[in-house]
Symmetry: C2
DNA sequence: TCGCGGGATATGGTCTGACCTCTGCGCTAG
DNA sequence: CTAGCGCAGAGGTCAGACCATATCCCGCGA
């Protein structure tokens, strides 16, 4: 006879040592005791304090390091050791790239998400971009205009343009997500470019669209910028996948 | 006298063993050789094949596991071992939660990003949600209506509502990002709720807004849904932070 | 023939202890 | 005063043993 309200002897969740360490470090961060730039105790000390092996501590550090939360440096003195870091961008890009490759996020969903974010980036850039931001965007177009540099170079220049807009938006989180999505698509776009017949014409069209988008941002015309951003991405996507 | 075009003896980037292993696994994923559900070789075998220690392999596995790309299970047989997984949500949530706590993403930026994403989620849900999706959203409101369950219970119910909309959008990536942002704010929202004087009235208002939003989604009125989503989030945000 | 018990086996999980590499700082010899 | 050496402390790596767990499978008994 079992009582449904009694907890029943379910198995206790098996918690691995390194997860406890991760949790301990996260708690320090959540409570505000650890801030960006602060050092962690040496691995050996942390291991003895938490009563786990050094290997367990190291695995935990690796997990957080992979998330861009920690950074480890060898050596001696004040610059050596493990520190709390602020490197979300690379981590977010790797994350997205892998999950896109695994098709955990369907390709069409990624494109739609990219449109949503870049529309917003363009709008925010049109509203908030300062002189420096606009100059940075324009700078990317000067190299991007030279299409004959090769597929890879153009791909990099295009990425730089979209990244510059995202960074000019003034919203770090939106920018990071925008960048991560563009970068996660980079390999795929490069292949599509290489397979594209008469790609120089396509690049000329895309470059023209870039100029129009930049113009809208400079005019602080948020609605136009939003619309141009979406049209540009949809156009490029259609051209490259139908080839 | 140095020649600027000569490569110059820059330091070779020190590559750590586990990073090589991560790279090796990523390459397999990028090339399509490893897909979701596929098993990795046993740690010991991978270690000897890549000529690193088992500790190095384990650290690499931990990194990818932390990103939701791998999943490890002990035991023997077909179900045991390390596998490629598809668990991006928890990983993305942890990632955001930590970086928000570290203020790598300013709070205002997170709110704006949330508005952008939830506007889109609501729009997509209004356009694409099927019967099951709408039923799932409504189900979360039935518990959410009962405000006297406590702060934590209401917070969970509110999260569930927004998550259900995101999932009804049909876009997995947008949904994941939406959920991750809402969850990363959960702790902060809970504290604000607890400090709020006369929170039951506030909850009643929020619940009313939820009903209106659901109504717009059911009517497939995308514009209204988008607008209601933004107003709801801005309202709640203003109420909770000004308290 | 069927059922079941228990050992063999394979896998990840953990720990220990050693050693290497790197780098700052201080001491010492010139 | 300075150049150089070496110590100390940090992360990086490794080897090996042992533990915990889950499946497989074989053999025994009903």
């Amino acid at each position: 006879m079992t009582d449904d309200r009694s907890p029943a002897w379910g198995p206790v969740p098996r918690t691995r040592a390194h997860e406890l360490v991760v949790q301990a470090i996260e708690d320090q961060i959540m409570s505000g005791a650890l801030r960006v730039g602060d050092p962690l105790p040496p691995e050996r000390e942390l291991a003895s304090r938490l009563e786990v092996s050094r290997a367990g501590v190291r695995e935990a550090v690796r997990v957080l390091e992979g998330q861009g939360v920690l950074r480890a440096r060898v050596g001696a003195g004040a610059d050596a050791g493990t520190f709390v870091a602020a490197l979300p961008d690379g981590a977010l890009t790797r994350f997205l790239r892998l999950h896109v490759a695994l098709a955990n996020f369907p390709y069409a969903d990624v494109i739609d998400a990219r449109v949503i974010l870049e529309r917003s980036s363009a709008r925010l850039a049109a509203l908030h971009a300062d002189e420096a931001g606009i100059a940075a965007i324009r700078a990317t177009l000067e190299t991007g205009a030279d299409a004959s540099l090769g597929h890879a170079a153009y791909n990099d220049a295009d990425t730089a343009f979209h990244v510059a807009i995202a960074e000019a938006s003034g919203n770090r989180l939106v920018a990071s997500m925008t960048v991560a999505i563009r970068e996660s698509l980079s390999a795929r776009i490069l292949v599509a470019l290489q397979d594209y017949e008469g790609w120089e014409e396509l690049v000329a069209t895309l470059h023209q669209q870039h100029l129009e988008l930049l113009d809208a941002i400079e005019r602080h015309d948020a609605d136009a910028a939003e619309e141009l951003a979406e049209r540009h991405i949809r156009f490029a996507e259609t051209a490259l996948t139908s080839a």
